[in-house]
Amino acid sequence: MKLYEYLAKQILAEAGVPIPPGRVVDTPEDAAAAVREIGPVALKAQVLVGGRGKAGGIKFAETADEAPQVAKQILGMDLKGYRVDRLYAEGKLAIEREIYVSVTTDRSRRCPLVMASAHGGVEIEDVEDRHIVRRHVDPRVGVLPYFGKEMAYALDLTAGLAREFGDLVEKLYHIYRQYDAELVEINPLAVVDDHLVAADARLNVDDSALFRHRALPVVEEGTPTEHKVSEIGLAFVELDGDIAIMANGAGMAMATLDTIQHFGGRPANFLDAGGGASVEPTAQALAVLVGMHPKAIFVNIFGGITRCDDVAKAIIQVKNTDGIPVPLVVRLTGTNEKEGVALLEHEGISAYSEMDKAAQQVVALAGEGR
């Protein structure tokens, strides 16, 4: 789960990381109040997309008089598909230089990784490798001040900034652990008046650890349909195409998309119906697929823990209640295959046992393919 900038900043401040003065702005009047309180501010759209500045999501207000007008330009605007409902007003900074620093997880090394660069203010992907200092964290040790200090000297910071950087990295690592973060990033980390200030911040929390962070406000990303399926407890991603797909298991679901594409079809979604899901959630998920009004639906099941007859029952249930008004292709193999196929045939639905033939068929029925 990604946190909005203002929340990330609040968490940084609580940990003792210096941030500029700032406050949340929900209305144009708030913006005026913010300027009266803080002085000239940057008004920053609180949306979870990068490149806000270039997209017009950050504007400056010098006086309380002009602030409401400036706020109105951003509030309610559409920023890369997200509506701006809230701004963060932050004191303007006289930035001397911009640094980059982040804590994230290195999957291969299976440990935290701290990255820093003297070239901040741009996405770290755009910084040349030789300008990046990477240091892995031994989870047995964690991060002490010397750790960041060593990085600071490698970045050629002055002794004063090196001391601050050492403390800062220690605190960022603390936040990374305390909030089960996937990413804690300060970019840019501004040098203002020879001190470090976090000018922008990202904090992404591990979804699997949210049970430890119930106090955090829930930030929902994704489309309405994605929310609906996530409420059933299944993994779902909406795509651009028009062949709706259900498969069991994440790898199998990905492979099914690939196969549809392989035959020239355009998948409408990723849906992992789960390994061993029962009739009810499977039926609910299928109903959601029907509601997406695809050109065709493909159900691709390898019966392992999942039982083919359960899947067949779910299909029949949806067919006989909501109805399935588009072509449906079913592939059933494995546990209770015979029972499943028999149930479907009884309802006039034929099932394939091989994935390639079934995929080709559904692409053809959708009027696509080569």
């Binding site: 997880t105 999957r107 291969s108 299976r110 440990c111 935290p112 996405e123 992907e125 989870p139 047995r140 652990r177 089960d180 996937e182 591990d206 979804d207 699997s208 650890a209 049970f211 430890r212 993994a235 991603v237 795509l239 498969a247 069991n248 298991g249 994440a250 790898g251 199998m252 679901a253 990905m254 492979a255 998309l257 690939d258 196969t259 549809i260 594409q261 392989h262 998948p267 990723f270 992992d272 390994g275 390898f302 019966g303 392992g304 823990i305 999942t306 193999t333 494995g334 546990t335 091989e354 994935m355 390639d356």
Partner: protein
């Protein structure tokens, strides 16, 4: 021979009285696994299908001498269960749960390393060796046959599909290993390949990968050392960037972890890369010829 597993290995089932634990303990035993005990706090002294249940791993290990354990508890409790096992002498730990916090997985994996223990998972379907007649996992029993093909996969169902096709093509398996679908897991493709290299029973390896991370690229670097033919199939070509494809680990982030870079690396390293699942078994038959 096999990797991780051996016939008669004494296996504990943590969380044996839960729905999943009970069912899979029974399935494991049906496949031949030597399940010597289970744990479930407060249920000590009872039996589940004839398997003795203990309150703690400490007692269970003391009474049964188990050295391997498979964990069926919800993700939030997995760290506790894993450390209970590791600190009480378990040296092969299979973690089935999904939704384990990554920070917990880092702690588990680090501790296991210090203790010289092996961790498979979390978010894995487990490990199975048809030749040794044992398994620690949740895979369906009927699709596997003894043979010479090692399989290492990130994803369960997809690996079942491939194992099934191998079996149907007369190509049995030495060991099938599920690394787990999470960003941080106990094994890596490289560490599993190292084992397959040492395993006389394995003559070829099928690598079933997916988008996200760089485990496949690292595997590619190891292929020259492996000295056995490899067939690779990777899923996620159609996946958009920035979206989790079910597995917490299956995500293309900021342009990293794409299928193209993985396939290129494996192909250049000499693996036979196939692009649809049904091409795996024929390719294996060919490389074994």
């Amino acid at each position: 021979m096999a990797i991780y597993l051996h016939r008669g290995q004494k296996i504990l089932v943590q969380g044996i009285t839960g729905r999943q634990g009970t069912f899979h303990a029974q399935q494991m035993r049906a496949f031949g696994a030597n399940v010597v005990g289970g744990t479930s706090p407060g249920k000590g002294g009872t039996l589940v299908d004839g398997v003795p249940v203990f309150d703690t791993v400490r007692e269970a290990v003391g009474e049964t001498g188990a050295t391997a354990s498979i964990v069926f508890v919800p993700g939030p409790y997995t760290k506790d269960a894993a450390f209970e096992a590791l600190e009480n002498g378990i040296r092969l730990l299979v973690l089935i749960p999904e939704h384990v916090p990554v920070a917990d997985s880092i702690d588990i994996v680090t501790r296991a390393q210090d203790l010289g223990a092996d961790v498979v998972g979390p978010n894995t379907f487990g490990v199975i060796s048809p030749g040794e007649g044992t398994k620690m996992g949740i895979m369906p029993n009927h699709i596997y046959r003894p043979g010479a093909v090692g399989v290492v996969a990130r994803s369960g169902t997809l690996s079942y599909e491939i194992a099934y096709q191998l079996t149907n093509a007369g190509l049995g398996q030495s060991t099938v290993v599920g690394m787990g679908g999470d960003p941080v897991v106990g094994g890596t493709f490289v560490s599993v390949l190292q084992r397959f290299r040492e395993d006389a029973a394995t003559r070829a390896v099928v690598l079933v990968g997916e988008i996200g991370g760089s485990a496949e690229e690292e595997a590619a670097d190891y292929l020259s050392t492996l000295g056995k033919p490899v067939v690779a199939y990777l899923a996620g070509r159609a996946a958009p960037a920035g979206k989790r494809m079910g597995h917490a680990g299956a995500i293309i982030e900021r342009g990293r972890g794409t299928l193209e870079s993985k396939e290129r690396a494996l192909s250049q390293a000499g693996a036979r890369v196939v692009t649809v699942p049904w091409d795996v078994a024929p390719a294996v038959a060919e490389v074994l010829r």
